[in-house]
């Protein structure tokens, strides 16, 4: 036993993720690797048409194939209920298909190959309907209706159950969702403006490309309880949703999450393959496993929402912003998932990234026959920031102001409550701007590149800046944003941390363990995290909105502090000392001042366990702190804390080819406080690369409702040689409510890369491109058009 132990903090250290050894050695068992005794394999037949009536389905040949246990269509599951955010969507389609991903039938068979062969034996007769693939056409008179009144499995109305949600029961137009927001008086703002710009920005389809494709295993036990092995990001909410869809008691549904190979928001909704797998398990009485192929993942998992965004904004000659008016058209696709609600987040950037007195904001998400959009890291913010930050540069240029100074003049300060009602208790935007600019040499490079534009040479360099604001302290989307923790200690000083928060590869379990160790003076190796079983873990609203470190972290700290209090009180009693003078360090109880060891923790714990009054299981919860929730007009606060960042991007544009190469990204991120330095660096670097893909190479090409590049050959993720040099600085604003001062950072790094890249291309070439992605051909065309115009 050491005589003294000095205080040692884990906060800010570089800590290897707890799951790294398993993942790096290939031992992690993802859903692909899980097999359940007696399982069958499920496969889904999807539509071969973009928009059509289903006239006839014949499954008899498929059913006759040896090894096939069930072939189901909508007619076989009369108990289906619509799913999705707007409940406009039956898992198995009845009278019509609205996109090529639509599910018509499903097979459960002994092997995947048999299931695959059975799909080919299913005959479907269609009657084509006119295709609506351009969102601009969705609201025109005479546009094909995507959700007219539905018919039952046999084409009649009789099979429609009573009480079906409105969205499912038929829509008279193609509007899926709208958002309207207003602050001040934009007309007055425009009158005060010296400069006004109006432009339309075009944001494209991209998809998550999780390395782990979608999958699920469904198993009923003999009592009718349902066990799901699912990659969901929101297990507790999905328990209830599954219960609703299946007409089951939610208490009889248990969800276990195997290690998840990436989420990025894609697993925030229930998709048809999940209930369909349950239907198959029900029909066969056997566990059924269904895992997507990569092609299926491209065709049938959600996308980021394509947006056509018209922005009108103005400022005065002195650089004060005056107003912003925004109108958007979101391509919702054939069904409504979370993508339709992204305007809720975009609104915050429009109204509050910089100080704008007057704002008017209208959005429409319209149905088309295209793939449907879900939630994706950044949640609309990449799109909004792309428009807002380009206009910032354009206005700065128009009034002859340095783009950095223009931003600093309009940037928010700590303590500010914006006209929308967002309260920035901690805010490092100005520091982010100054740091990113100083470290990258932004001002000098900006001027030098500008001067170099018209000189000879095919390679042009450019530098661009953009900032972002995103929720960093949970998000008040649901009535609650809570998370529970159970913490138990064994006889030897080891801790089991049972948390509601899911791990999706972002490193949350490591950070939570770290926060607990910090309170209990234990090494990281003393903590096991249990976080993937609804039967065991306490409630949590789900992993989304960059909330886990903040919400689940505070919850874990709460439990750890309870344990600490109990241990120190017992130790104080035994040693005849004051609990306030004691601390936990290195598995020992020590005197805080001197570090003198009083006793070993494990010995004390054993004594407590043999004492019938000892309770070494702590429970705690954390709900967002009280603040003004948004009202129906979206005025109020959406998060307990906000994350800020500025990124400076340096590019090289080859004017002969249009190829844009990212040379360097300098980021300054207000993260509240760095907890796990290695983890946060990884998240920011990963986010930058995701933003880079959005800006330059990734595009799900959808033509007339058909995805033309459902594979990694022509859906171009960033490859290693393209990744730029990165210099990331952390601005530690020590948020008062954050766990150890930290704020959420999961989504932040992906948000402003595209905007900064657009500004950098303009700095390099004088050409401004308002449509993503900046593929070589698109950039070359823009340069070519500019050259023609000049000549």
């Amino acid at each position: 036993m050491p005589e003294t132990i000095q205080k040692d903090s884990l906060i800010g250290k570089r800590i290897t993720k707890l799951d790294a050894p398993e993942k790096a050695s290939g031992k992690t068992r993802y859903i692909q690797d899980l097999d359940v005794q007696g399982q069958l394999y499920g496969k889904i037949l999807r539509s071969s048409r973009v928009h059509a009536k289903i006239k006839r389905i014949d499954t008899s040949k498929a059913k006759a194939l040896s090894g096939v246990h069930a072939v189901i269509t909508a007619a076989d599951v009369p108990y289906q209920r619509p799913i999705g955010v707007a409940k406009d969507h039956l898992p198995l389609k009845t009278d019509r298909v609205r996109s090529t991903r639509d599910e018509i039938a499903a097979v459960a068979a002994e092997t995947e190959a048999i299931a695959e062969a059975a799909l080919k034996l299913i005959e479907v007769e269609y009657e084509d309907l006119p295709i609506l693939s351009d969102p601009n056409d969705a609201l025109k008179p005479g546009a094909p209706l995507i959700h007219p009144e539905p018919h039952g499995a046999d084409g009649s109305h009789e099979h429609l159950k009573q009480g079906m949600p409105i969205a499912y029961a038929g829509k008279p137009d193609n509007i899926a969702m709208t958002f309207d927001y207003e602050q001040g008086d934009v007309a007055a703002g425009e009158r005060e403006s010296d400069v006004v710009f109006e432009d339309t920005f075009f944001l494209h389809y991209v998809t998550h490309c999780c390395m782990g494709v979608s999958g699920i295993i469904a198993e009923f036990d003999s009592s009718g309880n349902l066990l799901l092995y699912s990659n969901t990001q929101v297990p507790f909410l999905h328990k209830r949703e599954f219960a609703e869809i299946l007409g089951m008691d939610p208490a009889r549904i248990r969800i276990i999450q195997p290690p998840i190979g990436g989420g990025f928001g894609s697993k925030l909704d229930i998709y048809p393959f999940e209930p369909i797998t349950v239907f198959l398990a029900k029909a066969t009485g056997r566990p059924v496993k269904l895992v997507f192929t990569r092609e299926e993942e491209f065709l049938a998992s959600p996308t980021r929402q394509p947006v056509i965004l018209t922005l009108r904004s103005g400022c005065r000659k002195d650089g004060t912003l005056t107003f912003r008016t925004v109108n958007t058209l979101h391509d919702n696709g054939a069904y409504t998932s979370w993508g339709a609600t992204t305007p809720f987040v975009m609104m915050q950037t429009i109204s509050s990234l910089y100080r704008v007195p007057h704002c008017l904001y209208h959005t429409k998400a319209v149905y088309t026959n295209n793939p449907y959009a879900g939630s994706f890291r950044g949640y609309g913010n990449l799109q909004a920031t792309f428009a807002v930050e380009q206009h910032m540069d354009m206005m700065a240029e128009a009034i002859g102001m340095d783009p950095l100074d223009f931003r600093l003049k309009n940037a928010q300060d700590p303590g500010e409550v914006t006209p929308q009602g967002m309260h920035f208790k901690s805010c490092g935007l100005k520091e982010c701007l100054k740091t990113a600019a100083a470290v990258s040499g932004y001002r000098e490079k900006f001027k030098a590149n500008q001067a170099n534009r018209d000189k000879p040479g095919r390679i042009k360099r450019g530098v661009g800046i953009a900032s972002m604001l995103h929720v960093g302290g949970g998000a008040k989307i649901y009535p609650s944003d809570g998370c529970g923790t159970i913490l138990k200690m064994d006889d030897f000083g080891a801790v089991t941390l049972i948390t509601g928060a899911s791990e999706i590869g972002q490193g949350s379990e490591t950070v939570l363990a770290q926060l607990v160790c910090e309170e209990l003076g234990l090494p990281l190796s003393a903590v096991r995290v249990v976080n993937n079983d609804t039967e065991i873990t306490p409630w949590d609203v789900g992993v989304h909105a960059s909330r886990t470190t903040f919400i689940a972290g505070n919850s874990a700290i709460g439990a750890a502090r309870k344990a600490r209090g109990k241990i120190l009180a017992a130790a104080a009693m035994q040693a005849g000392l004051n609990a306030e003078e004691l601390d936990l360090r290195g598995g020992h109880i020590v005197e805080t001042q001197s570090g003198k060891v009083v006793m070993t923790l494990s010995k004390l714990l054993r004594q407590l366990h043999f004492n019938d009054k000892a309770e070494l299981v702590m429970t705690s919860f954390y709900y967002e702190p009280p603040s003004k929730h948004q009202d129906k007009k979206f005025k109020g606060d959406v998060s307990a804390a906000y994350a800020w960042a500025t990124q400076v991007v340096e590019v090289e544009v080859d004017t002969d080819t249009g190829i844009v190469r990212l040379l360097k990204v300098t980021g300054a991120h207000d993260v509240g406080r760095v907890l796990n330095r290695l983890g946060i660096e990884g998240q920011i670097e990963g986010g930058i690369v995701m933003g880079q893909g959005y800006a330059l190479t990734e595009e799900l090409m959808v033509e007339n409702g058909v995805v033309r590049n459902p594979g990694f050959r022509d859906y171009k993720l960033i490859t290693a040689p393209e990744i730029p040099e990165m210099d990331v600085r952390f601005i530690e604003t020590m948020d008062g409510e954050g766990p150890q001062g930290a704020k959420g950072v999961g989504e932040a790094p992906a948000i402003c890369i595209a905007a900064a890249t657009a500004n950098a291309i303009h700095n390099a070439t004088g050409v401004r491109i308002m449509a993503l992605p900046f593929t070589p051909e698109k950039v070359y065309r823009a340069l070519h058009a500019a050259r023609k115009e000049a000549a």
Binding site: I114, A117, D656, T657, K716, E722, T775, P776, R781, H784
Partner: protein, 290 residues
């Protein structure tokens, strides 16, 4: 559930072509880097017999035979890039290999496979055409092993289609040892530096003496159903001094003689523009470095 009934793995070229003649419907497996993904995606259907040709020694090796360098069909891209004969005489193939897919694919993918796959964007095809390569085709004729050779441009018929006869096997690629003063360039134009399918590719080769370019060969990839010769561009360059005017004229000739299509990778207009700009860039590079 593929309808594969039969698997053979002959150990000599003679045995292989005998079996080809006998079995008729055969799918050939060499490196598998094209075959397997295409089969998995359903674009290629396995025939009744799968023939693994990897155990045939005559298909291996890189050697000089008179004025030619013979590269066995099974030589992998990595082997070719590392081979001293190739490095000395055919550096163009080494630089083409540098842009070929990824290290893993280069280690498995074979030259014979790349040629027989006959993709208009095949990365070795344009350089091979610039080098004047021919293919050595083996078959059974009157109970004897028979070999014929065919110039590469003649060999290609369309995407994935060649003049390889049903019972014929590509045994090797033969490349004449380039003459003194031969310079060549290959430019693969894709949108990213690794793991890319080219949107266009250009190869230029010829003898440069006292600034004059002769015996010029130009080939383009991904602008037609097969890799194609740039005859008009060759004409614009043949016997000319590589000065700015010649280069400009050649770049225009190149753009005007190709007729690419629009697809997910690029539009026809952009492909033509890139043929122009990259031809110019290659020729400028040749003129300034030699």
């Amino acid at each position: 559930m593929t309808a594969l009934d039969n698997y053979v793995a002959p150990t000599s070229l003679e045995e292989a072509v005998e079996q080809l003649l006998e079995l008729g419907e055969v799918t050939i497996l060499a490196g598998g880097t094209d075959l397997m993904p295409q089969a998995n995606a359903g674009r290629v259907k396995f025939k009744r017999t799968l023939m693994n040709i990897r155990r045939i020694p005559e298909l291996r090796g890189i050697a000089r035979e008179g004025d030619e360098i013979r590269i066995g069909a099974l030589a992998t891209i990595s082997e070719i890039m590392a081979h001293p004969l190739v490095r000395e005489h055919l550096p163009l193939l080494v630089s083409a290999g540098d842009h070929f897919a990824s290290n893993q694919i280069r280690n498995a993918g074979t030259l014979g496979g790349n040629v027989c796959n006959a993709s208009p964007a095949g990365d070795t095809l344009v350089p091979l055409m610039v080098l004047g390569a021919s293919v050595e085709l083996a078959s059974m004729l009157d109970d004897k092993l028979y070999r014929r050779t065919m110039q590469l441009p003649e060999f290609f018929v369309g995407p994935g289609k060649t003049r390889l006869a049903t019972a014929e096997l590509l045994a090797a690629v033969r490349i004449p040892v380039p003459p003194q003063g031969f310079v060549a360039r290959f430019h693969k134009f894709g949108t990213r530096p690794a793991l890319d399918i080219s949107a266009i590719s250009i190869g230029v080769g010829g003898v440069l003496k006292n600034g004059v370019f002769s015996d010029v060969r130009v080939a383009f990839g991904a602008v037609a159903p097969t890799p194609v010769c740039g005859c008009a561009t060759e004409e614009a360059l043949e016997g000319k001094k590589l000065d700015a005017a010649t280069i400009a004229a050649a770049a225009v000739a190149a753009r005007d003689e190709v007729h690419p299509i629009s697809d997910v990778r690029a539009s026809d207009w952009y492909r033509k523009e890139m043929i122009h700009n990259m031809t110019k860039r290659i020729l400028e590079d040749v003129s300034t470095t030699h």
